[in-house]
């Protein structure tokens, strides 16, 4: 009997009214059914061991890349459904498709999921898949750390995503400005979920940054000097360094908010002279480099895709590298443009307005360089190139409106309006998402060994791009009409109705594009178009010299690199046989063993985070002890690596036709 009130209390905490809406319960049931089906399937086909050995405990960068990609696609779906719900709500004035509370939750998770759990893993997927292969490495610098990063990301994503059925979603926007995100205005566990999930994923992200920075700096094949690595590897290098210095301020901003909420500190509170604006400051010290963390890899992808499909070397390699470096440095000095309206004064505003505009210069240089790369080439419009061709006209609009936003007094009129919404979707969708999708289609054969169907890919692209323009062009005009972001609905008579209507239609068109893409993937899996050569696009860089998918050890023999587009030069000079091995040249290869430590460590973080979310400190301490235990195990464990013998390598390579006779 004494247990009863305790259980009631627990149930109330786990299932507050906001998670007991019929649609959420419906989704819960659907997910439960899907999970049971997956478990039954795995048990029936006896694949648990396979799943554990081949995927969950893997430290192979290629497999980790694939897992990142799949997770990112699932999150793209989740964030996309959120977007469609938002647009459905706004299709006409005074709609009550959702309550205001639910709308707040949906736009918050839309932003959070899309930035942190869709775009970031998509980028890491491409890094993992392509970078080691491009620079002639056997793996990343720290394979176990790489697995830790992935699992921290994955559990962070799970943490955020369970919030909508257990405890309640965050509802303070993806920036979560205090004091609205403080306990006084935002009781409940939603904000805790936000803080903890980003914190957990953020640790993994910093680890990834360290990993790829060291990988590109230290694991390049002999002869591959920094002036010879592909631009995508450069973009990985620079993105990593951005991550290193952008994420700690986020860690601090989230951490201090957590101290406020859970441990009663007074950083950003209304009372005790807290200063909420400091959060905005710290958040955007992270937030601005973050958008360049997202866009630089896209620039890198395009710098690979354009030369390949134009049959020409990249125009102005040095300028491309210098502009990447310039963008990365400048991006640390522009964050105030996210709050020109917070009264920092004309001196500060002018400084940051100017620094923001300066970024347009290197970006503009890149745009022209891609066009000049195509100039005098032979452009094949395959799907990866198609995304790039959609990118140029789209991104230039986003970049241009970015310059408009940097004009400080003009920004006083744009800020927080739909003009801003249109702008950043223009750069993030038109830049990052087009970029990573281009990269996905481009490296897909390298990941899986089969190509995605071209025709369906074209259709997916067309729907996506048309939907994109239809969604976001009207939003620029909505901004001029004074419509502000995050309004859960709006009254009629302000002239907003027609534009909102078209915007919603566009969003659905984009949704169709995404469905076609999913269909494309599934159809191509069932009817695989095998890539037997390893070089389906007539590529230029080292990853195309390998079979698709690359064997576990990547390179049977680490190549010696002599020029920038090494594989292309080899093909031109008829030296492609150099990649073949013979009995004399092959050596045994040592590779790290799989280990369950990463997933267990991330699990411990997850358990501890749940404890923090619900303020069950015993559980948080338990999770913390788990983290310590996993780390201790990791420190004392004997990581003797496994050896892949000469015979195995010879056998594998012979099957791929890569042994000299």
């Amino acid at each position: 009997m004494t247990m009863n009130p305790w259980i009631t209390h627990l149930m109330k905490r786990l299932f507050p009214p906001q998670v007991l809406l019929p649609d959420i319960i419906g989704i819960d049931i659907g997910l439960t059914v899907a999970a049971i089906a997956a478990i039954v399937f795995l048990t029936k086909t006896k694949r648990w061991g396979w799943l554990w050995r081949e995927w969950i405990t893997t430290v192979d960068h290629k497999k980790i890349g694939i897992m990142y990609l799949l997770a990112a696609l699932v999150m793209l779906f989740r964030g996309g459904v959120d977007a469609l719900m938002i647009r459905t709500q706004l299709i006409a004035p005074h709609q009550h498709f959702m309550s205001a509370q639910q709308y707040d939750e949906v736009f918050t998770t839309h932003g959070t999921v899309m930035i942190f759990f869709m775009a970031m893993p998509m980028v890491f997927a491409l890094f993992n898949v392509a970078v080691p292969l491009m620079i002639g490495a056997r793996d990343v610098a720290f394979p176990r750390l790489n697995a830790i990063s992935f699992w921290l990301f994955a559990f962070g994503a799970i943490l955020l995503n369970i919030s909508f059925s257990i405890g309640g979603s965050p509802d303070a926007g993806w920036m979560s400005y205090p004091p609205y995100s403080e306990l006084m205005f935002n009781p409940g566990v939603g904000e805790n979920y936000f803080l903890l999930s980003l914190q957990v994923a953020g640790i993994g992200t910093i680890a990834t940054g360290i990993n790829f920075l060291v990988t590109v700096l230290r694991l390049r094949a002999p002869g591959m000097t920094l002036t010879r690595i592909p631009i995508f590897a450069w973009s990985a290098l620079i993105t990593s360094s951005l991550i290193l210095f952008a994420f700690p301020p986020l860690t601090v901003a989230l951490g201090l908010t957590m101290l406020d909420r859970i441990f009663g500190a007074s950083f950003f509170t209304l009372g005790h002279q807290g200063m909420p604006m400091m959060y905005a400051n710290l958040f955007w010290i992270f937030g601005h480099p973050e958008v360049y963390i997202l866009i630089m890899p896209a620039f890198g992808v395009f710098s690979e895709v354009v030369p390949t499909f134009s049959k020409k070397p990249l125009f102005g390699y040095e300028a491309m590298v210098v502009s990447l470096l310039a963008i990365s440095i400048l991006s640390y000095g522009t964050w105030v443009h996210h709050f020109f309206e917070m009264g920092a004064g004309p001196g500060v505003n002018s400084f940051f307005g100017l620094s923001t505009m300066l970024i347009a210069i290197p970006t503009g240089v890149k745009m022209f360089n891609w066009i000049f790369t195509m100039w005098g080439g032979r452009i094949r419009v395959s799907v990866p190139m198609l995304w790039q061709l959609g990118f140029i006209p789209t991104f230039v609009v986003g970049g241009a409106t970015g310059v408009m936003l940097a004009a400080v007094p003009a920004d006083y009129q744009y800020h927080n309006s739909y003009f801003l919404i249109a702008h950043f979707h223009n750069v993030i969708l038109g830049g990052t998402v087009f970029g990573v999708l281009s990269g996905m289609y481009y490296w897909w054969p390298k990941m899986f060994g089969w190509k995605l169907n071209e025709r369906q890919g074209v259709w997916a692209f067309v729907f996506f791009v048309v939907g994109f323009w239809l969604t976001f062009m009207p939003q620029y005009f909505l901004g001029f009409q004074g419509m502000t972001r995050r309004m859960s609905t709006y009254p009629p008579g302000l002239g907003w109705t027609a534009l909102n209507f078209w915007s919603t239609i566009g969003a659905y068109v984009m949704g169709v594009g995404f469905l076609i893409m999913v269909y494309n993937i599934i159809w191509s899996r069932i009817h695989p178009d095998w890539d037997t050569t390893g070089d389906p696009w007539d590529g230029r860089t080292m990853e195309w010299s390998l079979p698709s998918p690359a064997p576990e050890y990547n390179f049977a023999r680490i190549p010696h690199v002599h020029s920038r587009d090494e594989w292309w030069e080899m093909k031109q000079e008829g030296r492609t046989d150099e990649v073949k091995i013979s009995e004399e040249t092959v050596h045994a290869i040592h590779m790290p063993r799989n280990t369950p430590m990463p997933v267990l460590l991330a699990l411990a973080f997850f358990v501890g985070s749940i404890g923090m979310v619900f303020e069950w400190f015993w559980l948080a301490i338990l999770g913390g002890l788990g983290v310590v235990a996993a780390l201790t195990y990791g420190s004392f464990a004997d990581y003797s690596e496994k050896e892949i013998s000469r015979d195995t390598i010879l056998h594998t390579e012979a099957q791929l036709g890569r042994v000299e006779s």
């Binding site: 230290r218 441990f263 500190a265």
Partner: protein
Amino acid sequence: MSTVTETHRSAARPPEFEDTHESIRILGFWIFLTTDVVLFGSLFSVYAVFRNRVALGPTPHQLFAMGPVLAETLILLTSTFTCSLSLYAARSDKLKGAVAWLTATLLLGASFVFLEIREFVGDVRAGHTWHQSAFLSGFFTLVGTHGSHVTVGIAWAIMLVLQLMSRGLTVTNRRKLYTFTLYWHFLDIVWIFLFTVVYLLGIA
């Protein structure tokens, strides 16, 4: 084991860098430290901005007692000295010396943490919790983050001592000791700035 020692004696390079993979790990650890630089930079910025926001709580002047802080500083400076001697001993292939100096380091670190906790407990007993003002929040968090870093360092040192005693000066253990000294010296640098910016300028 023995081959490593011999190559070390003849080579110009210290043993931590002989092995390619271990040298890569040292680079990775350096990079990790640079992220910590920015982390502490952010916390310092919070403290600097919040310094005058004392609300009804004490000002820095009223809060700080310099005696214990000076003691903490001297202890930490000594500990980084013993820490560097531990690496020196390891490089001279003196396992016992390395372990002894490392133990001294972790004991000094523990006494530092003890003094700091005592200071905090005293403040809280006097009613100056971090709830009281933004300044106190910034102060406790900045100093506390450093303190928790030191605590992690102590746990790490304990494990390192155990590994050194059980496995000796292997290539891996040399690298671990090297990265540990990097970490410890880095914490000392952070403390120097804490001591200056928080305490000295607080009572100046």
